[in-house]
Amino acid sequence: MMLELQNIHTFYGLSHILFDVSLTVKQGQIVCLLGRNGAGKTTTLKSIMGIAPPKRGKILFKGEVVSGKAPYILCRKGIGYVPDDRRIFADLTVYENLEIALRKREGRQQWDIPRVFELFPSLQKFSGRKGGLLSGGEQKMLAIARALVGNPECLLLDEPTEGLAPAMVAVFRDRIRLLKESGLTVLLAEQNVKFTLSLSEYAYIIDDGRICHQGTVAEIQENEAIRTMCGI
């Protein structure tokens, strides 16, 4: 198992956000976490990444308990994080954003800057431009590219299509498929049901901080009642 969450409970201050969330992601899979705004998708990913560590429950990465570890340790262990609000370093150029995130790893297929430029050619075009001057879609590309050059084994992708035009959504769908073909494991948090189900093999539906349903993509696609119940 690549990633496993066992009954995690996460709080922001006194507010209880995640309740008993459990999920598993197998190696090479794209698993999606579907839910409406405020359902707890981002908090789940932040809990995994150590940004909002859970107060109870366990997170295992490749069988090792990693809950409570600092984000930089989790990144070094092989978890890449693409936040929903991109959080690119606005004052640094595109190239510098990638350069500081570059991390080589032994015995693994290597992502480097030329390779992510092949994946997202427009980033190469703007490599000398400050990150803050890119469009929303380009910033999303940069956020994914920045996570990739860290050569993760498991990528946490938070709402990659949020606020994008349909043509751009199609581009992202293709690129994420390419990532899967390269052997990368992906946990994809989204509220765009069509986009997500077209990419994933297994889905978890989260609502009000609780996993309210899980199943194969086919099950969820066929079951309108589940989707309505979970508010997606």
Partner: protein, 282 residues
């Protein structure tokens, strides 16, 4: 010219403060104490080596390193445990540190006035446009831009410099790309304090080295980074030039009220640009 050379000392000290303020978001009130330790260390090293050329140059090299070592110990032993705390706590911590360092200087060096001589090479003056100008001030006019270029190269051309610029904006995300932010902060803090020590060592042949010199410089450095733009290195340069030049113009034109001139300039600058003349990173 005297104003410009004073501005160079102010720039070196305030650029260190601005660096710490920009990356760590900590207004380090103890920065002036580290400047004072730099000056006292320069005195001790120079005296130990019998003064002269070798004594001065070694003091100039070693005194900032002594300050860097002190700041490294303080950062790793105490400061690094407080980054998650609110700003007021950090401010109180650096205030306490200022008092402790001040007392340690008193214990170690006493309350007497000290002074060191500039090396023979930099003593005397040369004539510029018919007026005599101290050679040491020319030396300061060379060192200031060199420090500015060095800092620019550090922040723009080195990986750690780029990381520190990124950490100034979003330290959580810097951690999420696999960088141990704690060490970036340690490095930045030590570099900022090194600059305070360098400023102290450079100023030592031009003033009396004594307790209380930390209070004067800290007030000036804070005002300089405020008018230049918090955390902006070039802002520190602009602020230092304004401060140093208005101070000298005051002495030249209205000596009785000379002290008022730089503060009046600060009031005007902050009224015109409340967030600083150049872009603040806060």
């Amino acid at each position: 010219m005297v104003g410009l050379s004073r501005a160079m000392i102010l720039f070196i000290v305030s650029s260190g403060m601005s660096l710490v303020l920009g990356v760590l978001r900590v207004p380090n009130i103890a920065h002036g104490s580290l400047y004072m330790i730099g000056a006292f260390s320069a005195f001790s090293i120079s005296t130990l080596l019998g003064g002269g050329n070798a004594g001065f140059w070694l003091a100039l090299f070693l005194a900032p390193l002594v300050v860097a070592l002190v700041s490294f110990i303080v950062e790793r032993a105490l400061f690094c445990h407080l980054y998650e705390r609110e700003h007021l706590m950090l401010l109180l911590f650096t205030f306490a540190l200022m008092l402790i360092l001040g007392d340690l200087v008193k214990l170690f060096w006493g309350a007497d006035y000290r002074s060191i001589m500039a090396p023979p090479l930099l003593q005397g003056s040369i004539r510029i446009l018919g007026s005599p100008f101290p050679k040491y001030n020319i030396f300061l006019l060379i060192i200031g831009p060199l420090v500015a270029v060095g800092l620019w190269l550090f922040t723009n051309k080195t990986k750690i410099g780029k990381i520190s610029r990124a950490a100034a904006v979003d330290m959580e995300m810097v951690g999420a790309i696999g960088i141990n932010v704690s060490w970036v902060f340690a490095f930045t803090f030590v570099l900022g304090c090194f600059l305070a020590g360098l400023g102290g060592a450079l100023v030592s042949p031009t003033i009396s080295i004594t307790l209380g010199m930390d209070h004067d410089i800290i007030m000036e450095a804070f005002l300089i980074v405020a008018i230049g733009g918090l955390g902006n290195m070039w802002g520190a340069l602009v602020g230092s030039l304004i401060f140093g030049l208005t101070q000298s113009l005051g002495v030249l034109f209205w000596p009785q009220f000379a002290i008022v001139f730089p503060y009046a300039a600060v009031v005007i600058a902050l009224t015109w640009r409340p967030r600083g003349i150049l872009k603040s990173v806060w």
